[in-house]
């Protein structure tokens, strides 16, 4: 177990960056850049082990209770 202080929050892990050089509508781009659901409950998030191995990881966390259910490596897909 590592201290939370070593990690830094990186936003919603379910957001996919649109591919480069691809035409994209204003609405879709807005959704990618700005629009997020502020969920209460289970939420897949990105965290970086900033003061450690510097890996970005995906963490399933309850935003209300801080309970952590699942973690994935950066290259693993959320099922």
């Amino acid at each position: 177990m590592r201290s939370q202080n070593e990690f830094s929050y990186g936003g919603d892990a379910t957001v996919k960056r649109p591919e480069l050089d691809k035409e994209i509508s204003d609405q879709d781009w807005d959704n990618f850049v700005y629009n997020r659901k502020s969920l209460r409950g289970k939420h897949w998030e990105l965290w970086q082990h900033l003061s450690g191995c510097r890996q970005w990881i995906k963490v399933e966390r309850d935003t209300a209770t801080h309970e952590i259910f699942n973690t994935l490596k950066a290259n693993e897909e959320i099922s």
Partner: protein
């Protein structure tokens, strides 16, 4: 003054050690083991403060953490501390304390006038009254309120005390060392569990110190002492007194503050004043006990009205009488215990019991002792201003609605018992869903969310035998789960007096024609009528009622007031208490000093200090340092009596005329390697990177996905698959994370490795017309001519045997180079540059001159790239590739970003060419326009242009591209300045950029 209220033969104080102390300037005496409160009461002092709103006289209400009144300003060892509870502060020789909340003095308080114009301060008073006229707030209302209110004065001195943090792990953390805490700790410890037993007070034992019980043929106190001394001997147990577990956080982490030195006149050498414990416990046992509830009646805040349990504690622990003709007002048997103690110590109490015919062993004992008991009687109102002198009492009907004839009886204190409220704060903080227990009219812990168990009185159990039994069992069971040991402990025989049920009565009705103030919250002066008004005005949620009336919001957080407040709301609303619910319990349970929270992380220890390898050279050469993030950088090198302005001007000028050298080690450096490195750069920077040749540097700008500029810097291609990126000092860490984000999550197919090399390289920027001559002498074997090392070129060189990287880049607008060597050689490089540069009149320059040089040549930096500007705003739109995609490109087509009158960086010169322009000032068209004057832009950076010898600033200005040549005004209201200015190009020096290429 003598201790005329002190008894001879009772109490746990040390009579061999007499202590002198001062309260409001008067010297008194007490004993070791006293609290400030018990010592004052022993001396007959009951007036200790004034209330928050009405400035009514305040005495003592409790004997511990629940105290709402007796808050004092403490003076100890040359320091002062506000918000100290006299009931918690232990007496030491030379202690000094003063009342708070009273002005000019506790005996004559001007604010008490509020008391007589009652209508002036109803619920929501502050919200309603001070709203208009708006201008009155700062000038009239606020200063008055500030002076009249407040709970003491924070010291403005640096706190010399030491505070420490400690991290601890245990199997069981037990909060509270009353009967249940002792029993569970003992059972768990015997099973080999690692136990921490924490007690807030100096003495362990809780109610066992004051109750008449017998455990295993010992008094309660003897039994407690025995358990404690046995626990202290055990290696698996930590026993702590003066330690308050005040917060329960996620994953069973609890925080406790230990007051190590607060009870001593002076902190011992090498000792901290307080220690904050972060404890991870596998299981938590909450044995925090109960706090007695008051009964609400008229003038129930008069000094001398106090909790009956507190009166008993003063008597049994401190040998102090709170009064010599006490009136006990109770709705349950607890009041009788206090009365019996008075009687046994030669004082005749009168009991008023709201119950009609209670039958129990305790009631019988009181009767047998000949105590005067009046059943079905209530106190209608206390009489007396600075101290209770008498009480108006009356018979009350069985339905508790009608009062009989009111009569007045003499008394000097009123001890109130309205039954008990379990201390469920920790359980609630842990996420426990509390439930209402009808039997005790209070909330108790319900279903646990974390590994916590609440025991004894905190769980609503008031029978000692049951408490001990369940606590032994809990300690045993929970420790067994952890240690797999199963030591059976023989359960001691308990003798206690049986009590009967309490009366669900909590508020005395007002007699006809009387309008006494009946207080719910004693610290914040919230009365019954205040809550009634709030409900009348439409506040329904208990959370809103709390905030509107300030019920339960004071430093005592409603420990004595919350439940009566809930009762009142439920009565008026015709609801039951559980449907009203209670307000949220939040940490800390009791006030925690800021020092303890901060710990050792003060001053130099609050953040790391990073120094460049040349730091000691800078020190030796009179550098004046400035914090740049976590780095210390020379701001200027002081010569003689020069100030910052003079020094930096001299340094900047020398760069423009001769040559200067600046320590640029702090710049962020990232080493980028891999076959796809160019591809990565091409995606993160806005300009093209695929065709950068080896040995060349390029300036690049990177954006966030929302189109805002994130950072800028130069990146150099060292070899085929190897790049050296520089970032600004401030953004170094963010840029590395940014690159890692895209490499790991977005484009994992790119084969690139990035690593920070900021600390691996020492850097020196050599700038000025003579820089090439200097460089040639530093690197005689390298061709540093304009052809051999052109602008934005890169070579490796040999600096007197040390390998160096030489970049021809410029931040100053002059012909300039940056030399990097491995950090260990940094000082060597610096000294060589200074030595060889002597003949070229070299001078080191600091960050102030660095800024001057970059501002006057219009090079944007952190103050323009402030997280609010896009490339266009910084005149960097030329760097936006049209041919390729990059991070943030799509956002740049947003409407606001393409607006015709979009803001842009410009230069600003005062018309008088003299007045310096404060950074952060606003630009307006008309300095006399009506407020709010429309703002056209803001000054981002200012300097004294050494090239033109007049002030020059950069500004981000609306429609900047069409504003060149216009006259505007700079408004700096904080400095009381209005400066007429002319807008010019941001490139104030060498606009064509010829010097850097020369």
């Amino acid at each position: 003054m003598s201790q005329s209220f002190r008894l001879e033969n009772i109490g746990l104080i040390n009579r061999d050690k007499k202590l002198s102390f001062k309260f409001n300037g008067v010297t008194y005496y007490g004993y070791e083991g006293d609290t400030l409160a018990s010592a004052l009461i022993a001396n007959g002092v009951h007036l200790v403060g004034r209330s928050f709103k009405y400035h009514r006289p305040r005495g003592f209400f409790g004997a511990g953490v629940d105290e709402p009144y007796a808050i004092v300003q403490l003076y100890r060892n040359g320091e002062t501390e506000p918000n100290i509870k006299a009931t918690e502060q232990e007496l030491f020789e030379g202690l000094e304390a003063t009342s708070v909340n009273c002005w000019p003095s506790v005996n004559f308080d001007i604010g008490a006038i509020n008391n007589f114009i009652k209508i002036f301060l109803p619920a929501g008073f502050y919200y309603k009254t001070f709203m208009w006229p708006k201008s009155f707030w700062y000038k009239v209302y606020e200063p008055f309120i500030r002076k009249a209110a407040g709970l003491g004065i924070a010291s403005t001195k640096h706190d010399k005390e030491r505070y420490e943090h400690k991290y601890e792990y245990c199997d069981l953390l037990i909060a509270g060392s009353g009967p249940s805490g002792l029993a569970s700790a003992y059972a768990a410890a015997k099973n080999g569990a690692r136990v921490i037993l924490a007690e807030d007070k100096p003495r362990h034992g809780g109610t066992l110190l004051t109750s008449e019980v017998n455990i295993g043929n010992q008094s309660g106190k003897e039994w407690a002492d025995g358990i404690i001394s046995e626990l202290k001997e055990m290696p698996n147990v930590i026993v702590k007194n003066r330690s308050q577990v005040f917060g329960y956080y996620d994953h069973n982490m609890l925080v406790m503050s230990e007051r190590i030195s607060d009870h001593l006149p002076k902190t011992k050498k090498f000792h901290p004043k307080q220690r904050l414990w972060y404890i991870r416990a596998k299981e938590v046992l909450i044995s925090s006990g109960s706090i007695e509830r008051p009964i609400v009646f008229g003038n129930n805040d008069t000094p001398g009205v106090m909790l009956s349990s507190a009166a008993k504690e003063y008597l049994k622990v401190y040998g102090v009488l709170v009064g010599k003709s006490p009136l006990i007002f109770t709705n349950n048997d607890s009041g009788y215990e206090t009365a019996i103690e008075f009687k046994k110590n030669g004082v005749d109490p009168i009991i008023l019991d709201t119950r009609k015919e209670p039958q129990s062993e305790i009631v019988d004992e009181a009767k047998n002792l000949g105590i005067n008991i009046k059943f079905s009687h209530v106190v209608v109102a206390a009489q007396g201003y600075k101290k209770v002198k008498s009480a108006d009492i009356a018979k009350i009907s069985d339905d508790k609605e009608q009062l009989g004839k009111v009569e007045n009886i003499k008394c000097d204190c009123i001890c109130v018992s309205g039954f008990w409220t379990p201390t469920i704060h920790l359980a609630s903080q842990s996420g426990n869903k509390t439930k209402f227990n009808e039997d005790i009219d209070a909330f108790v812990p319900g279903i646990s969310k974390q590994n916590e168990t609440t025991l004894g009185a905190a769980n609503g159990s008031y029978v000692l035998n049951e408490t001990l039994k369940s606590s032994f069992e809990a300690g045993q069971e929970l420790s067994k789960k952890i240690t797999n040991n199963d030591n059976k402990i023989s359960f001691p025989n308990v003798v206690e007096k049986k009590s009967t049920t309490h009366d669900k009565f909590w508020c005395v009705p007002l007699p006809e024609g009387k309008n006494y103030k009946r207080f719910l919250d004693f610290q914040n002066d919230v009365s019954v009528s205040d809550v009634e008004i709030a409900l009348k005005e439409g506040y329904r949620s208990i959370e809103h009622v709390k905030r509107y009336t300030t019920l339960g919001m004071a430093t005592d957080q409603g420990k004595t007031s919350n439940l009566n407040g809930l009762q009142l709301v439920s009565n008026i609303e015709n609801k039951v208490v559980p449907n009203v619910g209670h307000t949220t319990f939040r940490p800390p349970y009791t006030p925690v000093s800021i020092g303890a929270i901060v710990g050792r992380e003060v001053g130099k220890h609050s953040k790391p200090t990073r120094k460049s390898p040349m730091h000691s050279w800078h020190e030796k050469n009179n550098a004046v340092f400035v914090d740049a993030g976590v780095w210390l950088r020379p701001r200027y090198y002081k010569q003689g009596n020069e100030n910052l302005f003079e020094g930096s001007k001299r340094e900047a000028k020398n760069v423009r005329t001769n040559v200067g050298v600046c320590d640029v080690t702090t710049l962020g450096k990232i080493d980028i390697k891999g076959p796809d490195a160019a591809q990565l750069l091409n995606r993160v920077y806005t300009n093209a990177w695929l065709k950068l040749p080896v040995g060349k540097a390029r300036y690049g700008v990177m954006l966030r996905e929302d189109g805002i500029v994130m950072d800028d810097g130069t990146t150099t291609r060292i070899s085929e698959n190897h790049y050296h990126m520089t970032t600004t000092t401030a953004q170094a860490a963010n840029v590395l994370s940014h690159l890692e984000y895209y490499l790991q999550l977005v484009w994992p197919e790119l084969n690139v490795n990035v690593v920070s090399t900021t600390e691996q390289w020492a850097g020196a920027a050599i700038a000025g017309p003579k820089s090439r001559d200097l460089l040639q002498k530093l690197f005689p074997n390298s061709d540093v001519s304009n052809e051999g090392l052109p602008f934005m070129g890169f070579i490796e060189g040999d600096l007197f045997g040390v390998k160096a990287r030489i970049f021809r880049i410029s931040f100053s607008g002059e012909l300039a180079y940056e030399v990097n060597v491995e950090s260990d050689n940094g000082n060597f490089m610096w000294e060589k540059i200074m030595e060889v540069g002597y003949e070229f009149d070299i001078q080191p320059y600091g960050t102030e001159a660095l800024s001057t040089l970059r501002i006057e040549m219009g090079h944007v930096a952190g103050s323009e790239l402030d997280g609010r500007t896009i490339p266009y705003d910084n005149s960097l739109e030329g760097l936006l590739s049209k041919k390729k995609d990059f991070i943030g490109k799509r956002s740049l087509s947003r409407e606001a970003f393409t607006a015709e009158d979009r803001q842009k960086v410009v230069g600003v010169v005062p018309l008088d060419k003299k007045t310096s322009i404060p950074e952060g000032s606003h630009l307006v068209k008309d300095s006399n326009a009506q407020l709010p004057n429309p703002k056209l832009g803001y000054i981002s950076a200012s300097c004294w242009s050494v090239e033109h010898d007049n002030p020059f600033s950069l500004a981000i200005l609306k429609d900047g591209k069409n504003m060149i040549g216009k006259k505007l005004f700079v408004m700096a209201p904080l400095k009381n300045k209005v400066i007429p200015v002319e807008i010019v190009s941001s490139h104030y020096v060498d606009p064509k950029g010829e010097r850097v290429r020369s």
